[in-house]
Amino acid sequence: MDTTQLLKGVLDLAVLAVLREEDGYGYDILRRLREAGMEEVGDASVYGTLRRLFAAGLLTTYVVPSESGPHRKYYALNAAGRDQLARSGKTWRSFATTMDTLLDDRGMAA
């Protein structure tokens, strides 16, 4: 199955998750996602998702001057963002459990 289809559904949650420990700027977040194993995530998808989460009021931003290159805009979770992360995380876990059970029952587990 095409992972990009799956990614679309969970990218919000993934972005919120990588921001839980530490704030990050766009490219940094992208790198963290890739390092975590989401190789196929598109650059534009991550940047677009960040804008949408920000517009939804789940993230705050601040600009940090950089010695080399342009200033960087950092994204951080706010209270609403943490809340959303907790709720979406729960939904995801229960969904994943359901899927696991489904796959195990049918004997299709890898």
Partner: protein
């Protein structure tokens, strides 16, 4: 690093062009991080940005989808197609921009043109002053006028140039309708400039000096075609030569009649060119009182002596044998 700053600028421009149907604020927000992002990508990659990220249009589509930003829902499909077509045209134009750049010794034509912008602002101010002057019904020329006054026109010119410079510094930040208005105005000015250029060129390439309103001499004598000198007795002086106070020959008019051989003679400094077109009949010796209307009253009809006002050699044959009736 093989990716140049220009490539980043081009990529950003193309992404922005592909998002042209979004409200400007949304588009700015979406592409705000893009230059920084591309710089990071460029620092890590050997290939071009397109190799690494795909075509800018695809990037824009992904960005739009992920951000959940829809185009203006009120737009019809025709409008959408128009927008898409405009975006494509913009991309083509940018390619051409880069391709033609080397001809000018620059990476792109826009790099070449950018430093010339203040010159355009000056020119724009001057054109605007000319246009205002023309709208007030002043004769068209190269200097604006107000109520026929060149001085007032110069004030207008200075004001228009200053306003244009101010606008030039501010207009980069224009969005929405002020920007559209500016473009409309620029188009109108360019049209007017073309018309004015053609007009001035017509005047400049013709022999008359009607176009040079700034030069007051010449105007009064434009309509003069030939000069007829009459002596005290009202007789036409032939082959008169005219000089100014410095002894410089005065040239007026041009020959319009054919001479004996059937060709129009070249202009010489002797008047009249065409004696037979004299406005007043010469006094004929047989009829004593044929007073030529408007000329000095010839009380003595007898032809005595030749014209004295002529410093050049007088043509005796011309003065003693009066030509017959005037031909006009």
């Amino acid at each position: 690093m093989t990716v140049t700053g220009q490539e980043i600028v081009d990529y950003v421009d193309r992404v922005r062009a592909a998002l042209a149907d979004l409200p400007p604020a949304v588009r700015d927000e979406l592409t705000e991080d893009l230059p920084e992002h591309l710089a990071e990508v460029a620092a890590e990659t050997d290939g071009t940005l397109v190799d690494r990220l795909g075509e800018p249009e695809a990037y824009a589509a992904e960005l739009r989808a992920a951000a959940g930003a829809e185009g203006n829902p009120g737009r019809t499909s025709l409008n959408r197609r128009l927008t898409a077509g405009r975006a494509r045209a913009a991309v083509q134009l940018e390619r051409l921009d880069v391709q033609l750049g080397p001809l000018l010794g620059q990476p792109s034509v826009s790099v070449f043109l950018r430093p010339l912008r203040p010159a355009w602002w000056l020119l724009r101010g001057w054109l605007a002053a000319l246009l205002l002057s023309a709208l007030f019904g002043e004769p068209s020329g190269l200097l604006p006028r107000l109520d026929g006054s060149v001085l007032a026109g110069l004030f207008l010119l200075a004001g228009a140039v200053l306003a244009s410079l101010w606008l030039g510094r501010r207009s980069a930040g224009f969005r929405g309708w002020p920007r559209r208005l500016l473009r409309l105005g620029t188009g109108a000015l360019l049209l007017f400039a073309f018309a004015a250029l053609v007009n001035v060129d017509q005047h400049a390439s013709s022999d008359y000096f009607r176009g040079y309103e700034g030069v007051p001499v010449g105007n009064r004598y434009d309509s003069i075609q030939d000069v007829f000198v009459y002596d005290e007795q009202g007789r036409l002086v032939r082959n008169a030569r005219l000089f100014d106070q410095n002894g410089v020959p005065i040239r007026l008019g041009w020959p319009t009649c054919v001479d004996g051989s059937g060709v129009v003679p070249p202009p010489r400094n002797v008047y009249p060119y065409c004696p037979e077109q004299a406005p007043f009949a010469p006094p004929s010796p047989s009829t004593p009182p044929p007073a030529p209307t408007g000329s000095t009253s010839p009380t003595t009809p007898a032809p005595t002596g030749s014209a004295t006002a002529v410093p050049g050699p007088t043509d005796s044959a011309g003065t003693t044998t009066p030509t017959p009736a005037p031909t006009r």
